[in-house]
Symmetry: C3
Subunit: 438 residues, 3 copies
């Protein structure tokens, strides 16, 4: 498949660099190397073999010339530094999910060193310290700063660092054209793209004879650094409008038909669209079970009996801001279902990996539902026993009414019905029972 | 290791093809290409580099000349189409588990396009719509058609499509001689042969210097396409008779001794045979716990409180037709134990992978048993409390008798004892208690 | 990176071998080959291509000349046999964790054939058949001998067999310089070093262009066969003294700075040190929950209601000797937390793999804590109901006192307080309640 070769990339960048490089005094570069050849010999050796050395782009051109600022971690080589020369790459990077973290609130910036105060507005309303509701960082706010660095930011640095993929000083395009470069971040239970591709037909054909398309062949081809160009349904739950969705689907189909028929390719993608709806419905079934338990006051512990959610307080949170700590067992089962098993099903489906779609995905979703229903039954049986009803299956009438009224109130309080509907439904219950309001 | 080289394969097939190919008018082939060079350029390019192009085997030779049928998905290139030329490959394929799906009921054919009504008899008695008891497709019958396509059939197509492994148009034998080709299907929790081999001594020696045997070296060598020739104990639970088992074991040993001593090799395989018996006994222990809970009416939910099994109705199903959805929590734990962890133990053992045999297999089986016993205790304690006995550990005498009678009846109803035995045992219980029959 | 090349290794060994090899009569070697060329052709072919054949080291030089002893498995080619020539390799191997099993009790020797009775003292006090408390083999003592062979010893043979890594007859250093050689043992839930490295930045750079450091680059470089030279905090929980810890940390840092700055490298390792402390604290929180349940008599089953621990009897065991079978559900959850998820967090952190550190590690630890708290709550609610208190949340005063006294006694019995403290605390409880001692 056609892509700008290393030579063309180099030439494009080199032209831009000529004027720039001229302003970096050779004497300064020699100063850096006199120490760093001893202190960080690997870094210097990689730079020496890079196109940057050939083009006269030295240490200070990227790191700046103020050694104190560098030492203090204030001279970060951000995407904007690289973008001074690599303008098209920066522009397409910023159009992609890779580059949108600081702009849309899809990432979490709190641990990034040297962040700009104006960035706050990417996630917060001006009048509020609470992030916007589309921000997913609730669970990251519970992390220690060390976990933030070793966990979150080692991947989310892609938002602001080209080196996240290209490595720091080695500019060899072999690095970023290997599917391996994607593995470190696009693996694991919540976004297993790498494992899924690796063992799909595409990945195994790539492995056996270099025939199958790589990550880059489908996600960089024709879109520069906009890796999201062909992804019609982002995993975040965010949905594009119909026209955008169609445009992205067509972008991908135009790649599929290089090898496959268009009808076949569309059917494959449509298939996973259907699986997405079926799977999402299963997840919603589970969410409804948990909401009902919450309405009945049966979660153990209930939100007000545990440390508050950092963004939502004592609310039950089952959306993208769901936590995996300081929750009840049934919510943690739901976290696995929603964040891990749904992702495996869909990433498996869109990459044509049957074992991920079926065993790691769909089968786990179904077993999650078994587990969640079992826990719901357990909680109800314990509660019924504790209320002294004798048995969970034949509660007395007064207890049933009391329960239904409490549940109705909870639904009203969490915004599932208007005040009018609440009043109306309450009246109906009381009328039907012949009892007076409490 | 010796195998027919690509050249020999090619020549063998080419001779047969000459007469055949002569009947395909060159004009027709040109017709196909005039569109498909634009519509599916990858497919055409692969064909152009294939031995099929060299041998004059064109599009219509495999796909037929009726474009409407092709478009309608009615011109499937089945193993029989390929077998017109590749006769020995077809014959040995059909002897293997890979080729037996449509014949023995080991696969599930309901979602295959263009299936022949006569195939019904492979799975059904003539007078019945219920599949034969050896058919495992219960859980697949619960799938949506989209999951059937993206999950089940992407692997089970091997039963009727050579392209499942060989790919559609590229005939390069490098594809099918790489262990990678096996990965897409032989991976995952229920049949992790690929991961197991990859990280076994054999797989790592293959990785470091091409020394260790590949999947193909042990499972194709000397048996053509009969991949099952050396597998003495199929994972399905099906057992060959003693003579067949010995023949298959000897077939494998003859491969082992190319590198290892015969005694050592036999001891290795015998070792896993013993682990198979130990592991199966653990799984049976778990099954017995669940059967007892069923007899006591304590599964939550019981079979008659949930959607019926598609083949067996409201029966408790713990054999090969076990489901992973619409079951109780303890049955789902048992599903993991039987289908995932037992498989990992045995596939790990027969491929000499200590981490799979021990940690992913045996250790999980033991933890499964802990979990299953814990759930059994929980269900019993809840039930005892609901029956108002006060405590689970000191039930009163009448309740014990009532329970034992109910359990006896359940055992009789599920066929675990004859009517005579049931009457006899019931009488004994009543006599011992001094009570009259209910 | 500099390492002795194959040639230098060969020459060093060859000099030592000359005198030795001269004593092995060529006639004897011919005897071996006359049968083994037919019986084990692969082994002979590997030997023929090895430096051993070049150096005149024949079968009997390693296996001895007594065929009966070989057949009986009494002529094991131990590390000492290899060490007769490869002295430095043996010496550094014995300094490492790889070679310490038989000396420190870190391994389990009971299944090793031909073991020396004097080895007993490595694990046992002279006067006792109970292994020392630092021995971890409790769970292995529960294994069948077949699982011991196929599970434990296939990896733990590294303690006494060079062939564990080098393979039996092929001396090609390509085998042991490939990271693949480490995979078979350093994978899986309890020590996933291989998977973690493979998908870390280091592993993916190695994959894409051979740039990233391999296992060998960091764990063999400069220390011969002492793979533990740079590991400051062993996963066993054993801690070096401060000077040794610092020495090992400095050893590793000297390797990091070949590519990275020293400050950056130190910060990376310090970061995971902090994560280690945070994670260990979470595991300790879980242990405390289980100890309290034990004090309250609420584990299901309690230690005295189940098969005894092979080393500790009916004691609650949560340290390195913890079992994964014949325990209560909550202890098995704790086993996963302590042995699997803590390991993934730390191995992930020290190898800079964000997905292992975060998702497979830290996130699972937090979910484990949710599960363990949920099970504790379930056990307490069931027990409260069984005691007839009506509800778990409002126990009566007498029951509370009785419970606290029982718990105090259990704490005293497990050595958590002195007799004096116990008496004092008991008195306080009784005084506060106005009740007389029981």
């Amino acid at each position: 498949m056609s892509r700008p070769g290393p030579l063309r990339c180099f030439l494009g960048a080199a032209l831009i660099l000529l004027a720039w490089a001229a302003s970096a005094p050779a004497a300064q570069q020699a100063d850096c190397l006199s120490c760093h050849e001893k202190d960080t010999p690997g870094a210097v050796a990689q730079w020496r073999q890079s196109v940057h050395e050939d083009a006269g782009v030295g240490c200070a051109d990227c790191h700046g010339g103020d050694h104190d600022r560098i030492e203090a971690g204030e001279a970060y080589v951000s995407v904007e530094v690289c973008g001074r020369c690599h303008q098209e790459a920066l522009a397409t990077h910023k159009e992609s999910r890779h580059g949108m973290g600081l702009h849309s609130g899809w990432g979490c910036t709190r641990n990034l060193t040297g962040r700009d105060a104006r960035e706050c507005s990417f996630c917060h309303d001006k009048s509020s310290t609470i992030p916007l509701s589309t921000v997913q960082c609730g669970r990251f706010l519970k992390q220690t700063s060390e976990m933030g660095a070793a966990g979150c930011n080692r991947c989310h640095q892609v938002e602001r660092s080209c080196a996240a993929c290209h490595s720091n000083h080695d500019t060899d395009l072999a690095i970023v054209r290997s599917p391996a470069v994607c593995a470190t971040c696009h693996m694991g239970p919540d976004h297993p793209q790498w494992e899924v591709w690796k063992t799909s037909k595409h990945g195994t054909l790539y492995d056996s004879k270099g025939l199958g398309p790589s990550c880059q062949d489908c996600h960089f081809e024709g879109s520069g650094h906009n890796v999201s160009a062909g992804i019609a349904y982002p995993s975040s739950g965010f949905r594009y409008d119909e026209a955008q969705t169609q445009k992205k689907r067509d972008f991908m189909l135009d790649l599929c038909v290089k090898c496959h028929g268009r009808n076949f390719s569309r059917r494959e993608l449509d298939n996973t669209d259907a699986i997405r709806e079926q799977s999402t419905a299963m997840v919603e079934q589970a969410a409804e079970i948990i909401r009902e338990l919450h309405d009945e006051g049966l979660l153990d512990p209930m939100p007000d009996e545990r440390p508050p959610h950092p963004l939502r307080g004592n609310e039950l949170v089952l959306d993208q801001q769901i936590l995996f700590e300081d929750v009840s067992h049934i919510e943690r089962l739901y976290f696995k279902m929603k964040k891990f098993d749904l992702a495996k099903t869909l990433v498996g489906g869109y990459h044509q990996n049957p074992d991920y779609t079926h065993w790691y995905g769909n089968a786990e979703l179904k077993m999650d539902l078994v587990d969640i229903r079992a826990e719901a039954s357990r909680l109800r049986r314990l509660a019924a026993l504790e209320k002294g009803r004798g048995t969970a299956r034949t509660p007395d009438k007064a207890a049933v009414l009391e329960e239904e009224l409490r549940r109705l109130k909870s639904r009203f309080q969490r915004g599932a019905m208007s005040e009018q509907e609440y009043g109306q439904r309450k009246k109906e219950l009381l009328d039907a029972s012949g009892a007076s309001p409490d």
